[in-house]
Symmetry: C2
Subunit: 322 residues, 2 copies
DNA sequence: AAAAAGAGTTGAAACGTTTCCAATTTGGTG
DNA sequence: CACCAAATTGGAAACGTTTCAACTCTTTTT
């Protein structure tokens, strides 16, 4: 294999000198630099990153651990994360956990063995205890502890906003619809905001939720439609829930938005093929992605962060369902 | 750093023996194995993958180079690719090129430096010439040469199928709508199939295409709607094109499917929030993904492949637009 | 003119693993 | 009991890089 030694030999210098030329570290006489560069050119030499990573005991690789890249919210997030990483020469390793705790742990261990520089985690496990080493981690939408910084949208305000928009659109008895995930999931605050605002405004409301994961849509939505026939507004915890609800409701000749107003959360629909365009609480995905990586960089550099949780503001995006 | 040496010392054996235990290579006495395993347990030792990669001069990392993970077709593909890779302990590195040739080349060079085990490429460049080393590559939808195996769907048959379905749905003057990409792109065969079948059936047809990339939708679709007001069927080269066309057509009070039947290509819509559900030529995404990785494995193992291009059959999935 | 400072360079050690040859032990056989 | 083959183990080399102490020149200062 072509190595730094070959370059050194051809240029008539020592390996250390070649290394200094390549990394621009230490002093090198212009004439020497020229000779080395020419030798590099001539041999078509490229540094061996694997050897470099080994020697340095660190790599410029960041892992993104999430349930499924197939989900549009995550794929948008991943797009911006990769872009932000690339700006600093970092590489992205993608890990789909399918939301299975055992797979999350399996990946976490693998990532430690591979000495990744950092991890962005969207997990169901409390990964804190599972990561023995000191790999920097930033989590999205999950707040475990001080050690793992969390980036999320302002779920509480989003919940309040959703309630207000439903009422504004004419709903008299809005329902919160979602699933119950773990306690550390920030998304639960969407319900809190919704409920608090309903109480504050003196609006009658319903909370409908089942434990995660919702496996049988027929039962989930069927039950809701049966037991809560009187609701005229739905705040779904995600756009996905909203879309499925709308689908089922229409099958039962419930018109959206005439009979029931619907507001989702996420704002994943940005292509022409999404209809109806769901009125939704839009998360600032790009900003969240870039901030996540910037915070991760800080952690990698060993800087301390001001906050445990960074909450980015959300906005209401009117669609065709209110 | 905790290394194999510490384990060896604690277990009272040589490093080579520990290595043999870990990798199950060579013979080790049961009693010795037990002692080593206990030492590993006790120290909570995990092998350093980076060092291993370095020593072996290869890593179990495969790169996926594509325009944008944000696109639903690619994110579905990536999901299955990651899954298939994980089954053999391979890791996935994600590279978004944004479809820019210079970024493709930049990534390609980086991947060589990082000695990835293989590359799955969905690129606009002819990457053949850019990869000097012998990294195994499998390409999706692009056929460059013998060296780079290509996995694709049966675009030609898909084109024929689309034409037949449009006619079956009542179209008398169907149009092909798309963009012209590079000559090596297999997707161009969708048009060929469409045209050949139209001729074979004696059907009047239109071909409308602009050079890639289509930057201004207003002009693209506006021009089509103006110049081809008499078409009553559209075969769009992708579902994305189909969706955008439908959007514009409706703005001009053209009803789909009453006035114009539409068939797309890809089959990306698998969630409730897609409406109208586009009638489309569905690519077997999962199968393509798994086959791609299996072929890549063969190349990594140094086996030779039977074909240069592997074409998987497509199916017509009726939606609400025919 | 001698000493000090600085610039440039060398060469070897170290990173953690695998692998291979040699050395040792084991077990079986004559 | 001696001998041989097989099984097991030890130990060192090698992978390609960075880093650092030591060394050689060159320039500046006194």
């Amino acid at each position: 294999m072509l190595s730094i030694k070959d370059v050194a030999q051809l240029a008539g210098v020592a390996v250390g000198t070649v290394s200094r030329v390549i990394n621009n570290s230490g002093a090198v006489k212009p004439e020497t630099r020229r000779r080395v560069e020419q030798a590099i050119q001539e041999l078509n030499y490229v540094p061996n990153e694997v050897a470099r990573n080994f020697k340095m005991q660190k790599s410029k690789m960041v892992a993104l651990l999430l349930p499924s890249i197939w989900h549009p919210f995550f794929s948008e997030l991943a797009y911006y994360i990769e872009d932000e990483l690339d700006r600093e020469g970092y590489k992205l390793m993608l890990c789909n956990s399918s939301g299975k705790p055992e797979k999350e742990l399996y990946y976490l261990e693998m990532l430690q063995q591979n000495k990744v520089a950092g991890i962005v985690g969207i997990t169901y496990n409390d990964i804190e205890s599972s990561v023995s080493t000191d790999i920097p981690i930033v989590s999205i939408d999950r707040h475990f502890s001080k050690k793992i910084t969390c980036v999320t949208s302002d779920n509480y305000e989003g919940g309040r906003l959703a309630l207000r928009e439903l009422v504004k659109a004419g709903a008299r008895k809005p329902a919160f619809m979602g699933s119950v995930t773990a306690v550390y999931s920030e998304t639960m605050k969407r319900r809190e905001g919704f409920v608090d605002e309903a109480k504050a405004m003196g609006v009658d409301y319903v909370v409908y939720e089942k434990p995660d994961p919702v496996t049988d849509d027929d039962i989930y939505y069927g039950e809701f439609l049966r037991d809560h026939a009187d609701v005229d507004g739905v705040f779904a915890i995600t756009d996905m829930f909203a879309a499925k609800y709308i689908e089922r409701a229409r099958e039962q000749n419930i018109r959206v938005p005439e009979d029931v107003k619907v507001v989702g959360y996420d704002g994943i629909q940005d292509h022409a093929y999404f209809h109806p365009l769901i009125s939704t609480i839009r998360q600032p995905v790009e900003e969240m992605a870039r901030m996540t990586i910037q915070l991760l960089y800080k952690k990698i550099r060993g800087e301390s962060l001001d906050l445990e949780t960074y909450r980015l503001p959300v906005t209401f995006r009117p669609g065709e369902t209110t």
